[in-house]
C-alpha cells in the first residue's frame, strides 16, 4: 500500500512540476500536431506564455474535442480551442461555450470567415480536392471518371467525420436530401471505396491502388512531398463553388487564463501565423491580407479558390440533418 502511494505521489509531483504548470495556457488543438506545434512554440517564444496542448487523434479529428468541450462546458479546462474546421465551432457557438473576442487578429479576417458576434474567427484554410495518380500521364477530368459505371478505383473517406462530412453537408445544402442520398448510394453501387480517413485515400492514390480520390490539400502535399506522382484539382460543386475549410479559433467561455487566451487568439489570426502555416508542409491558404510575394508558389496558386468558396457558416443545419442520416446508415 505504501509503495503504491509513493508511486502515485511521485507521478503526481512530476506531472505538476514538468507537465502541467497552473499558469500554462490550455489549448485543445484539432490541427495536426506536426503543423500546429511550431506555431504554438513560436507563440511561447514571443510571449513567454507556456502552452499545454491536447490533440485529437489524427484519424477522426476535431469532433472528439468538440464533444469534450460540450461536456466540459460547466467546468472548462480549456482556454483556447484551435479547430481545424468550422462546423464544430458553430456547434460550440450554439451551445454557448465560446466567449466573444474581437482583437487585432479578428479585425484582419474577412467577414465571410468569422462570426459577426466575435465568438470565432477563421485562418489558414485548406481546400477539398481530387487527387489523381498521374503515372506520367496528364490528369483526366475527375467528373468524367466519376460519371463512369465502375468506380472501384476511386476512394473517399467515411463521411461521418472530418472534412468529408463538411463536403457532404455542402452537397446536402446545395442539392437537397434526395439528390445527396442518391449520389451517395450510386457511388457505393458503382464500387467507390470508402476508407478510414483522407490520409488512407491519399495513400491509395499515391501508391497507384486507386486512380482518383477525394481528399484535402494538406494530404495531397503530403503525398507530393513524399515523391508520389500525384496531381490535384479543386472539387467544384455544381454551382462552381469550391470547398475551402479554414482553421478556426475561439476563447472558451469561463477560460481560466482569459488574457493569455486572447493573446493567443490574436497571434493565431495574425499575418505571421498565417504565413507560417502557408510555409508549413500542409500549405494552408491565408484568409487575411498578406503580401503575395511572401507566399510559396503552391499556396499562391490556391488563393483564387478562396473567393469561390461556399459559405460554410450557412451549413450548420445541413450538417446536422446529413449527420443524422449518415448515422442511421451506419447502424
Amino acid at each position: 500500500m505504501i509503495v503504491a502511494f509513493v508511486l502515485v505521489g511521485t507521478v503526481w509531483a512530476v506531472y505538476s512540476r514538468y507537465f502541467a504548470s497552473p499558469e500554462a495556457l490550455v489549448v485543445y488543438c484539432a490541427h495536426d500536431a506536426i503543423f500546429s506545434d511550431q506555431v504554438l512554440d513560436r507563440f511561447t517564444e514571443k510571449t513567454g506564455i507556456e502552452v499545454i496542448r491536447k490533440h485529437d487523434t489524427e484519424a477522426a479529428k476535431s469532433l472528439g474535442l468538440v464533444e469534450l468541450l460540450v461536456r466540459e462546458k460547466s467546468a472548462p479546462r480549456c482556454d483556447v480551442f484551435w479547430n481545424n474546421e468550422l462546423l464544430g465551432m458553430i456547434q460550440l457557438q450554439e451551445e454557448g461555450a465560446l466567449e466573444p473576442w474581437k482583437g487585432s487578429g479578428y479585425q484582419r479576417i474577412p467577414d465571410k470567415y468569422k462570426a459577426a458576434s466575435g465568438e470565432w474567427a477563421g485562418f489558414g484554410a485548406r481546400a477539398r480536392v481530387y487527387i489523381q495518380n498521374a503515372n506520367g500521364q496528364p490528369p483526366r477530368d475527375p467528373l468524367s471518371i466519376l460519371d463512369g459505371s465502375d468506380l472501384s478505383r476511386t476512394a473517399i473517406a467515411k463521411p461521418l467525420y472530418g472534412t468529408t462530412l463538411t463536403h457532404y453537408a455542402a452537397l446536402w445544402a446545395l442539392w437537397g436530401k434526395e439528390a445527396t442520398q442518391k449520389w451517395h448510394s450510386e457511388c457505393r453501387e458503382k464500387g467507390m471505396r470508402e476508407v478510414n480517413g483522407n490520409a488512407v485515400t491519399k495513400d491509395l492514390v499515391a501508391n497507384g491502388v486507386c486512380d482518383l480520390g477525394f481528399t484535402d490539400t494538406d494530404d495531397f502535399f503530403g503525398a507530393k512531398d513524399a515523391g508520389a506522382s500525384v496531381t490535384m484539382t479543386p472539387v467544384r460543386l455544381t454551382n462552381g463553388a469550391t470547398i475551402c475549410i479554414p482553421n478556426t479559433v475561439a476563447v472558451i467561455r469561463g477560460a481560466r487564463h482569459r488574457e493569455a487566451a486572447r493573446k493567443l487568439v490574436d497571434f493565431l489570426l495574425s499575418e505571421e501565423s498565417e504565413l507560417a502555416l502557408a510555409h508549413s508542409a500542409s500549405r494552408q491558404i491565408p484568409l487575411g491580407e498578406v503580401d503575395p510575394e511572401k507566399l510559396p508558389q503552391d499556396v499562391r496558386a490556391m488563393v483564387p479558390w478562396l473567393s469561390d468558396g461556399i459559405p460554410l457558416g450557412e451549413l450548420g443545419a445541413a450538417r446536422k440533418q446529413c449527420l443524422e442520416w449518415l448515422k442511421g446508415l451506419d447502424g
Binding site: 502515485v8 507521478v11 507537465f19 506545434d37 499545454i52 476512394a155 491509395l204 503525398a223 448515422k327
Partner: protein, 456 residues
C-alpha cells in the same frame, strides 16, 4: 454493429481453435524430459515473443502491404485472421504450459482404458475435467484477445467493432450513444471475460499434472518448431526487419531533429508507475481475489478506457479528471491479468526445493537467482507493456502528456516514411535498453556482493 460483432466472433473462434491446436501440438515438446532444456527454453521464448510484441509495430509494418488489398476484401480478411492467429496462437502454448491438464497423460490413458473395459460412460463432469480444462482456458483467453484487437485492424484498414467504436468516440459521438451502439460486442466481451476467470480459477486450484513422459515424435517436434518460427517471424522478425530497413535511412535525419523526448518521458512515467503498481497489487492481493480483479482488464483497453472517461467526468471525480491518475488506474487494471499469469508462473517456478534452500541462505546471490530474477523480469515486462499501451493512452492521457505510442499512431496517419520508421525504432528500443542496463547493473552488483568484492 451486429455485423462487425459477428465477424469478430467468427475470427476469434478461428484464432482460438488455432491456439488450442498449437497448444496441444507443442505442449509435449515443451514438457518432455527427452527434449534438451535449452531447446525448450528457446521454444518458450519464441512463443512468448509474438504474444507480447507491440501490436503498433506489427500494424505499422503491414499497413503499406494492406493497401492493395482494398480491391480484394476476402484476401484482406484472410490476411488479418492469419496475423491474429500468428500473434495469439502461441499464447495457447504458453497457457498449456502454465495451466497443464488436471489429469496426467497416464491418468487419461487409464480413464480411456477403463471406459473401453467397462463399456460404461464416464460422467460429463469428469470428462470435462480430464480433457477440456486446459483447452478451454486456451480457447477462451485467445478468443477474448482476438475479439477485441484494435491496433492491427486500425492500421491495416480492417473494419472491426473496436475500430468503429474508437472512431465513433474520437469522432465526437456522445459516450452513451457510442456505448449503446456497441452493446452487443461489449456483452460478448463481458461474457467471455467472466468465463475466462471462471475457467482460470478452476484450473488454478487443481493439482496440475504436466509430466509428459513419452518422447515426442520427430514430426511433432518439427511441426511445433515450424509453427513457432513462422509465428515469431510473421509478428516480430519480419515487421522489425521491414521497419529497421526503412529506419536505417531515416536515422541520420532523426538524430538531428528528434522531437519526442517529452512523449517518451510521459510513456516512461506511465510505464514505470503502471507496471510497478500492477506488480504490487498482484503481489499483495490473494490469488483467489486476483481472478475477479482481472475481469476489467480482460475486457480490453478500449472498453475500459471509455468507461474511465465517463467515470472520471462525474462531479465527485472531476478533480483528478485531467491528471495522470485515470490513465494509471486503467493501465493497472489492464495489466492485472498478465500480472496474474506471471504470479502463477513465479509460484510454479518457485515451488521447488532449490527456491526454498535459496530463501534460507543468508546470501543475496542465490536469492536473486531463484526469486529476484523472476520478480525483476515480471516488473520489467509489466512496465514494458504499460509503456507500449496505445488505446488507453490515446483516450485518457492528460493535456500536455501525450504518450509516445499515441503520438506515433497519429504520425502513422500520414503514411510510412523513413524518419517515422526510425522514430518507431527509437521509441520502442528506449525501454528495452533501460531494462537491459538495469538488469546488467543488478547482475554485476549481485556478483560483486557474492564475491565480497568492492562495489565500485
Amino acid at each position: 454493429m451486429i455485423e462487425e460483432t459477428l465477424a469478430s466472433l467468427a475470427r476469434s473462434v478461428c484464432v482460438a481453435f488455432a491456439a488450442v491446436c498449437f497448444g496441444r501440438l507443442t505442449r509435449p515438446v515443451l514438457t518432455s524430459p527427452a527434449i534438451a532444456p535449452s531447446v525448450k527454453r528457446a521454444l518458450f521464448v519464441l512463443c512468448a515473443l509474438p504474444v507480447f510484441a507491440p501490436t503498433l509495430l506489427t500494424g505499422y509494418a503491414y499497413a503499406r502491404w494492406s493497401l492493395p488489398l482494398v480491391h480484394l476484401p476476402l484476401t484482406k480478411e484472410a490476411s488479418y485472421v492469419l496475423l491474429l492467429a500468428l500473434r495469439f496462437a502461441p499464447l495457447g502454448v504458453l497457457l498449456y504450459w502454465i495451466f497443464p491438464p488436471s489429469l496426467a497423460d497416464s491418468g487419461r490413458y487409464c480413464l480411456q482404458l477403463a471406459k473401453a473395459a467397462s463399456g460404461l460412460g464416464i460422467p460429463l463432469r469428469i470428462r470435462l475435467r480430464a480433457f477440456a480444462d486446459t483447452p478451454g482456458i486456451a480457447f477462451l483467453v485467445t478468443a477474448l484477445l482476438a475479439f477485441h484487437e484494435f491496433e492491427i485492424a486500425s492500421l491495416t484498414g480492417v473494419e472491426t467493432w473496436s475500430v468503429r467504436l474508437f472512431d465513433a468516440h474520437a469522432g465526437g459521438v456522445p459516450w452513451g450513444e457510442a456505448m449503446s451502439a456497441a452493446s452487443a460486442p461489449i456483452a460478448v466481451q463481458l461474457g467471455l471475460a467472466a468465463l475466462c476467470v471462471w475457467a482460470l480459477r478452476r484450473q488454478l486450484f487443481a493439482t496440475g499434472a504436466d509430466g509428459y513422459t513419452r518422447k515426442p515424435t520427430v514430426g511433432r517436434c518439427a511441426a511445433a518448431s515450424g509453427v513457432t518460427l513462422l509465428s515469431a517471424c510473421g509478428i516480430v522478425v519480419l515487421p522489425m526487419g521491414l521497419i529497421a530497413a526503412e529506419a536505417s535511412a531515416g536515422m541520420s535525419q532523426l538524430c538531428s531533429s528528434f522531437a519526442m523526448q517529452k512523449e517518451v518521458l510521459a510513456s516512461l512515467i506511465f510505464g514505470i508507475s503502471g507496471g510497478a503498481l500492477a506488480f504490487v497489487v498482484s503481489s499483495a492481493v490473494p490469488m483467489r481475489c486476483l481472478g475477479l480483479l482481472a475481469i476489467p482488464g480482460l475486457c480490453g483497453s478500449l472498453i475500459l478506457a471509455l468507461s474511465a472517461v465517463r467515470i472520471f467526468q462525474w462531479d465527485a471525480l472531476t478533480a483528478v479528471y485531467d491528471s495522470p491518475l485515470p490513465l494509471i488506474g486503467v493501465i493497472v487494471l489492464l495489466l492485472l491479468p498478465v500480472a496474474f499469469l506471471l504470479k502463477v508462473l513465479r509460484c510454479k517456478l518457485a515451488a521447488n526445493g532449490a527456491s526454498h534452500v535459496a530463501s534460507l541462505a543468508q546470501s543475496w546471490s542465490p536469492q536473486w537467482r531463484m526469486t529476484g530474477r523472476g520478480a525483476f523480469g515480471s516488473i520489467a515486462f509489466l512496465c514494458l507493456l504499460a509503456y507500449v499501451e496505445l488505446t488507453a493512452s490515446a483516450i485518457l492521457a492528460p493535456p500536455g502528456m501525450t504518450t509516445a505510442p499515441a503520438r506515433l499512431y497519429n504520425l502513422m496517419h500520414y503514411g510510412q516514411t523513413e524518419v517515422l520508421s526510425a522514430m518507431v525504432m527509437v521509441v520502442f528500443l528506449v525501454p528495452i535498453a533501460i531494462i537491459a542496463l538495469l538488469w546488467a547493473g543488478i547482475e554485476a552488483l549481485v556478483y560483486r556482493i557474492g564475491q565480497k568484492a568492492p562495489l565500485w
